[in-house]
Symmetry: C2
Subunit: 197 residues, 2 copies
């Protein structure tokens, strides 16, 4: 399959941008684009700084999970730890920070798995997927007004919960694609030891 990410038979070209919303949290723009056939269209979407998600592997084979209320869903969701990049923040630094803040764990080794795009039609967000192992528990440092519960589960339990519809969060599913294939030996991660660890 020929796969040109800039294929001129499909590509759109931005001709104008309008700011639609600068909320406390969401930043929305409307671009006017020129279509491949020369026609015009508008594209509204969210500008997002990007995020990370972490599969933290405990020595007993379980992984670290979170239960968190997600207001747009109106319910508690089961998720891997994750969080947004601070301005200019390195992605691995962000993964270490979020894992520590939300769960209290520090990892001796890290491996970058891949990237996923949660919402390609209306957000430019990417979520960088990381694996961590050699975990040492410590004290978590939640932001004020942040409420979440940490728990652990086996990968087999997690897959059952996906099948049963109890795990539906996209970043968690993306991490599970990696976790399942890594554990099966199909895919190999490039583990990096923390300097000084």
């Amino acid at each position: 399959m020929k796969d040109d990410p800039a294929d001129p038979r499909l590509a759109e070209r931005t001709t104008a941008r309008e700011e639609l919303l600068r909320g406390h949290f969401l930043h929305v723009v409307r671009d006017t684009v020129q279509l491949p056939d020369g026609g015009a269209a508008t594209r509204e979407y969210i500008l997002h700084p990007g995020a990370v998600a972490i599969v933290a592997l405990l020595d007993d084979g379980q992984v670290v999970m979170e239960r968190q209320w997600r207001h747009p869903m109106g319910r508690v969701m089961l998720e891997f730890p994750a969080g947004k990049l601070d301005a200019g923040e390195d992605r691995l630094a962000c993964a270490k920070r979020e894992l520590l803040e939300e769960t209290g764990y520090v990892a001796r080794e890290w491996a970058h798995a891949g990237v996923m795009h949660p919402c390609i039609s209306y957000s430019d967000e990417f979520i960088d997927l990381w694996f961590a192992r050699g975990l040492t528990p410590g004290r978590r440092q939640l932001d004020p007004g942040e409420f979440l519960e940490v728990f652990t589960a086996t990968p087999a339990q997690l897959m059952d919960w996906v099948r049963e519809g109890r795990v539906t969060d996209s970043k968690t599913l993306a991490c599970l694609v990696w976790l399942q294939n890594v554990l099966a030996g199909h895919w190999v991660l490039d583990w990096q030891r923390e300097s000084g660890a």
Copy 2:
């Protein structure tokens, strides 16, 4: 693991809603919520009608894929066929409509796999995941200004592309969790034959 979706230690309660944006495409609100500790916070998110994604299995073992320019990504993405629900539309009816419109295929059998939530922190979108088989090719019916290319791939190719970072779309990754586990015989789909087919 105790899993109460309405756990009062985590749940937030909406006390007010403000309309932030009604664009051509995006609808954004800001809710004021009461936190579990009684404090207040605001939550900005997109109201979305929901969507479907389809894993269409060809008799030769390949699946039907699309290449489509995604403006927020600034590139052509590799995806399973998908689309938004029309107002009041049944989810399976939407899956049939989108598969036909975008790829031209009609399926003899359908199975509902699950649901995924692409963007739980700032959108209420769900994507319903469907499998289709017994495919008959026909003429696709793209909307004006819609440009996308249909191609086929084996599941093994798709998994390689995930590993290599060429497939990063969240709904496609969610479908692949299902596809991989169904093909491995771990998960079983409940196939329904089209009446009259």
